[in-house]
Symmetry: C2
Subunit: 205 residues, 2 copies
């Protein structure tokens, strides 16, 4: 399972790295989550410059995609060359999740359809302006399209991809590793409870 | 308030970036958390290369330091030139927190004293070998020295620095921003409950 974590200039470190690091717990099983960007390097909203691991072509090739978030998403949503790359994604063969302002891009490329969606409180008015019903919850998925709202909800996008692509045991193990000591059961339980209702065939408890 | 987030080759992205991003919510008030490394760039345990924002001199100059974690900390703990830099830190004038395997470095440079400490489950045996009593909890602080265990407990190191350097209102605001939508009160409440007992003068509720 190859996962593209779309990361643009002005990116929010939490949104890209929490999901990527949790998914990369599956590396021993051949999974890889890779920072995927339109340029060789991108600089975060807090001035941290990172090197991309893949270019935007990878967005259409990966088995799953997470559209990250950041402070410049409204500019990116007007970049037609970039949107053309994103429009090559295909939810018939890819899992596609959007984090916070990534939901705006998902809407702009027409992949949200008439689904309600999650996003952060800052992005909410812009997504509402697009005609999307924004939910007061951290995670929502319908079929192969998911959205999450609030930086730390990126855990839930990772959990969704693990549940869909691997199963509950692997999802539990990756979430358990990342959770605070002494609060691991609480964290794993809440993550699975937030995501399970949207994964067909995974039992409620 | 200038905060050095010590980040070494093999670093865990969660451990450096969660704390840094939450603290950087205070940027409008003049705070900055900066990735601080022994070389111009460092590569994470998952192959992500990032540029350092400050060099190791900054560890002794910053108002607060977070010692990040990673897969190469045991090698780093044998690097005497690097440890010499870290020994220039001074808990009389700096807040010093260690995340996961960062606790091993904190012990090695003699700053833990006879305090018990938090760390992750992988690092635990190595820290126990140093003669440290490891706690089954996500966060512990005594005076200006704190430790946290489990990647997502890096939220609590950030909360501690915000509580100590700013106050409860600013800590709440930064944690609230990062928390998942629909679970914000739960997240903020748990973070403050995990940290408050170790911050003198902050009320229990």
């Amino acid at each position: 399972m190859q996962v593209a974590v779309l990361t643009f200039d002005g990116f929010n470190e939490l949104d890209s790295f929490i999901a990527a690091a949790i998914i990369n717990r599956q590396r021993a099983k051949g999974w890889r989550a890779l920072i995927t960007s339109p340029s060789k390097s991108v600089t975060s909203m807090n001035g941290v410059t990172i090197e991309a691991q893949r270019d935007l072509e990878f967005a259409a090739e990966a088995d799953a995609v997470i559209i990250g978030s950041g402070s410049r998403t409204r500019d990116i949503a007007r970049d037609e060359a970039l949107l053309a790359h994103l429009r090559r994604m295909d939810p018939a063969r890819q899992l596609i999740g959007a984090q916070c302002s990534g939901t705006l891009l998902l809407s702009r490329i027409g992949l949200l359809g008439d689904r309600p969606a999650c996003t952060d409180l800052t992005t909410k008015p812009w997504v509402v302006e697009e005609g999307v019903r924004v939910l007061d919850q951290p995670f929502y998925a319908d079929g192969n399209i998911a959205t999450a709202g609030g930086c730390l909800a990126s855990q839930y996008l990772a959990a969704w991809i693990l549940l869909r692509g691997a199963g509950e045991e692997d999802a539990r193990s990756a979430l358990h590793y990342a959770a605070p000591v002494g609060q691991k059961e609480e964290y794993v339980g809440r993550a699975l409870a937030s995501v399970r209702p949207f994964v067909p065939g995974v039992r409620a408890a």
